[in-house]
Amino acid sequence: MTTKSMTTESDVATSATAAREKLDAHTYETVQWHFHESTGSPFWLEKKAGLNFDPLTEVKCFDDLKKFPLFEDEWLRGGPVRRWVPKGMDGQPTYVFETGGTTGIPKSRVVIDDFRIDYEMFSHTLPDEYFPKGANWLMLGPSGPRRLRLAVEHLCQFRGGISFCIDLDPRWVVKLIKKGWMDHLEEYKKHCIDQAVTILTAGHDIKCMFTTPKLLESLAYGLAERDTSIQEVGITGIFSGGTEFTPQWTRFCVEELLGGPTEESGVYMTPTYGNTLMGLACSRPVTEEEDYKIAYYAPQPRAVVEVVDFDDHTRVVPYAGTGRVKLYTMTKEFFVPGFLERDEGEREEPYSSYPWDGVSGVRPYHAIASQTTVGVY
């Protein structure tokens, strides 16, 4: 081992210790806010009465969150959504974003500023060379009552650009799949890609985009049919998200859809992992040298990702071990003291830019994988 790498490891360890102290302090402050009568939300104040401990006095650090029962996303179905708004934020303009909802009542999350804060933080991780300040963006993803649509638009505006969008109803996509109407699905996909190609070839000087892996692939084929490519239409920065990101797919995408590695093609793609509950986890740079391994790191201390034992969610697996993804959200607007995602993966070591645990190899949790429709758009 070289002196340099020893120093780096030691630096990461020091940063990790500092990050952990910051996380503990943040946890304490967040719990105080959400469970204090003057600032907490009606939902959590009501829940507090049913707990067998007092969060105000017995949660002093992150590990104390394990005293809470698991967060159940079923709680998010139906109204009144105001019960989720902390009293300390009453009167502020409030959004409601939905997830799911193909059939039945969707899950709702109220948001005031979180999506702006999360995406501004994410903005600082984007290289200006490929996501130029002032550049216009295309949001090639779901429209409707979704956080992602507004978040990407804010990200673009925060960086000085104007964001273009398409119409894409993911609930209709899921219905088409469930009905087995694959011809309709193909036509709907074409309809979405046609919208994107029209925008990209209409002189709007779009350089950056958000999209999902499936749509990115379809866009590449759609452009190829018109004898052009993602590279040729001027896209230099792509921010993408979804559990379908596998190393092999990423390699295929980089080598064959984007024109080669960033330094050759001039196109940079960054995978992300997230949802309406947590926000956005960034990835470590994805490189050929690391076999296109994708490791995600949550925006600590506002959110935390753990990889926990399949049978005991209070136990984190060893580094490189496989387990279920557990999320925590601790912002002033929203509190999730541990939610078991429908995904699994491997626990990753802290990294210099993100000196805390990450998760790699994210894929649908094997026990429920066959019941889950992933990557529908």
Binding site: E217, Y221, A224, T246, P247, Q248, W249, R251, F252, E256, L257, D291, Y292
Partner: protein, 479 residues
């Protein structure tokens, strides 16, 4: 352990994702196979025309000679395979180890594939009714009757989503190469051996590598292949066949529901045909679509079923390397228990009798796999559910049915062997659209004459007869 890449029009591609092929008894890995995604196939379809172009540069006669050479290599040579080589013995061991088929059956299937390849000239002569193959390559020509004939190629490549456990079916796509059509194959996850070895033999015999694509991968590879390729075959369940029925781009192959029908004129001598009935049910461990799953007669059915049960009921599990092994393993034990559950339901119906019940347990569960021993079931009427069942092990229903009702009751039948001299019965069978391959006389259902089309004529699937008129240009003025 072999590391086997995908092949993208002749170029090996080692993916980051790999799937291990494991020994069905020990779980020991035998090979690690690159897994690609459907998008890659979609992208590569742009180069499909090149596959036909390189084959068209070689006269059909030379391609036929290459087929003969490839047959010899396939059956006898040590061939390149991924990062290593593969001898004939390796091939037999590997195929048996991953599919659960006894080794002598793997050898039998290998010889069948090799036979078809070696006799390609005669097979194509039969399928094309003696057409000069250069007419297919050129697109039009003169057949010798003073008439221009033209065959429009429907696709530069033939796609195939290949099965996991039936190494005999590969004969169906082999004629593509001498027809100057490229091959785009998705190998089965447990049986990559035949397509890889066959492609290796073709290449060693001089067929250009650019004519071949092998895409191991998940379901998205299969669905992309069937969507993007203008002509493809798929091997699967009855549901798969139903899904693609009527789709002119896809030739689906599924359960065969092959049957033996005994005419009233011969049924009293049923014992004379017992050997061919046993062979039809039992060969290749009953796994093929050409295995007999129904024996229909108007009388003596209980005696026929009892005699078959006596011959088949005692057959037991033997190690795969045993030359007497007659049963293939279900490498996924859940498939065996699931099948057993369905059979149990069939037996609940009144009028259905389990004739092998006295010969010991049928379901044999091992640590990592399971077996189903042969079953003979008697049905007192063609209306019993079991009369239209087919399972992936030696299973036959002996069905009592008046001869006059057989044609309307048998349902889809890939191979129908009718043992009769009754000309009226033969005529009604010949006219029936329920039967694909019709054998008149005591021919086991599993013995195919390769000079006959199988589930449609491949040349008619790949080429369409069309008008082609040529007239001379008027002489250019001033020249």
């Amino acid at each position: 352990m072999l590391t086997i890449p995908a092949i993208r029009w002749g170029k090996p591609y080692t993916a980051l994702e790999k799937q291990e092929v494991v020994h069905f008894l020990s779980g020991e890995p035998i090979a690690s196979i690159s897994q690609v995604n459907g998008g890659m196939l979609q992208l590569d379809m742009k180069k499909a025309a090149r596959a036909r172009a390189v084959l068209r540069e070689i006269p059909s006669e030379n391609l036929l000679l290459m087929c003969e050479k490839a047959a010899e290599l396939f059956e006898s040579a040590e061939l390149p395979m991924g990062d290593g080589t593969q001898s004939v013995d390796d091939f037999i061991h590997q195929q048996s180890a991953s599919t659960g088929l006894p080794e002598h059956m793997c050898l039998g299937n290998m010889k069948k594939n090799s036979f078809v390849l070696a006799n390609m000239r005669q097979i194509l002569d039969a399928l094309t009714r003696g057409l000069d193959l250069s007419i297919l390559g050129r697109g039009y020509g003169e057949e010798g009757r003073g008439v221009t004939v033209s065959y429009q190629v429907q696709s530069p490549v033939l796609g195939a989503v290949l099965p996991n456990n039936s190494p005999g079916v590969h004969t169906l796509w082999l004629p593509a190469i001498p027809l100057q059509i490229g091959l785009l194959l998705k190998p089965g996850s447990q049986e990559p051996w035949t397509p890889y070895r066959m492609v290796s033999a073709f290449m060693e015999a001089g067929v250009p590598a650019e004519a071949f694509a092998l895409y191991p991968g998940g379901h998205d590879v299969g669905s992309t292949l069937l969507t993007r390729c203008s002509r493809s075959m798929v091997f699967g369940s009855a549901q798969t066949v139903e899904q693609y029925a009527g789709n002119p781009r896809v030739q689906p192959h599924g359960p065969g529901f092959s049957k033996i029908l005994l005419g009233d004129d011969v049924v009293d001598q049923w014992e004379d045909y017992l050997d061919m009935m046993v062979e039809s049910v039992f060969s290749n461990s009953g796994r093929s679509c050409i295995n007999c799953s129904g024996i229909w007669a108007s009388r003596h059915t209980d005696k026929i079923a009892a005699a078959l049960a006596e011959r088949l009921g005692a057959v037991d599990v033997l190690p795969p390397e045993d030359p007497d092994a007659g049963l293939a393993a279900f490498t996924n034990a859940a498939m065996a228990t699931g099948t057993w559950g369905m059979v149990q339901q069939d037996l609940q119906e009144s009028g259905v009798t389990d004739m092998t019940g006295d010969y010991g347990d049928r379901l044999v569960e091992k640590e990592r796999c399971a077996y189903l021993r042969p079953m003979v079931v008697h049905a007192d009427s063609p209306d019993r559910g079991v009369a239209s069942k087919e399972y992936m092990f030696p299973f036959v229903s002996v069905v009592q049915c008046p001869q006059k009702d057989m044609v309307k009751k048998i349902g889809p039948t890939l191979v129908g062997t009718a043992i009769t001299s009754d000309q009226d019965f033969i005529l009604s069978l010949t006219e029936s659209t329920s039967i694909d391959r019709l054998n008149i006389g005591p021919m086991p259902t599993n013995r195919l004459n390769w000079l006959q089309p199988h589930e449609g004529n491949l040349t008619e699937f790949l080429f369409r007869s069309r008008a082609y008129q040529i007239t001379e240009l008027p002489s250019a003025v001033g020249v």
